[in-house]
């Protein structure tokens, strides 16, 4: 059983480690998105995902949404850590 001082120390320690954890999460997400993008682009190029009218827009929609979200996550992380 922790005493109150140990408890406060453990909170302080977890708060100190939080930015590292968040950057780690960001790294995993970016890696996951990059792998997903390559796979999506491969399928889009080879099989033209979407209906005839949407072939160009599908890729644009994908790149725009994933790019914007990664940018928001990165900005939020910078604001939090700096």
């Amino acid at each position: 059983m922790e005493n109150p001082l140990q408890f406060l120390e453990s909170i302080e320690l977890s708060t100190t480690n939080l930015p590292f954890l968040l950057w780690g999460i960001f790294g995993v997400l970016t890696f996951f998105a990059a792998v997903n993008s390559v796979i999506f682009f491969y399928h889009w190029r080879r099989y033209h995902v979407g209906s005839i009218l949407l072939t160009g827009q599908t890729l644009l929609m994908y790149v725009a949404s994933v790019g914007v979200l990664l940018f928001i996550i990165f900005t939020a992380l910078l604001t939090y850590t700096l």
Partner: protein
Amino acid sequence: MAYKLGADEQIIKVIKKHWFILLRKVIGLFFAFIIPFVAYFAILKINDLYNIINFDLVINKSLAVFFGASWILILTLMFFYHWTDHHLDAWILTNERIVDIDQIGFFHRQVSSLRLERIQDVTIITRGFIATFLHFGDIHVQTAGQSREFILKGAPRPQRTKELILRQYELAIEKNGLSSIDSV
């Protein structure tokens, strides 16, 4: 479509699944999408009413944006996965055969083809109110011999597609000088 046709082969129709099949898969993602917004505003509202905590001190806004955007990014990637999967599943009806393209995962693609002369029976199944109302259903094509059954789940306007398949079947039989199902 990255699919090679024979010398005299012509594509009659490319049949893809009904849009409702995709909607059914992604509707859960939509509800998951609104969860962070609902939770955020619910916490704000409850805090305004009861003044439980100093919100700015406890919940860091940048952190909330970080987790909210991460959540939405994961859902977006899942949406595009379903979108790709939906659009890569197709049946190609040509004047010679039916090609069944089944995208099982991103790197698992199964392509089978069935010559029209080998068709024994075409059955359509429309289950439930929504399928009846939105005109979609399953098409089962039974082949001769011990071959497997071809199934396209959630095909739009199955009756029309069935008629089209049977019409092409009749034409293929005539072309090859064989006897049709009805004359047996």
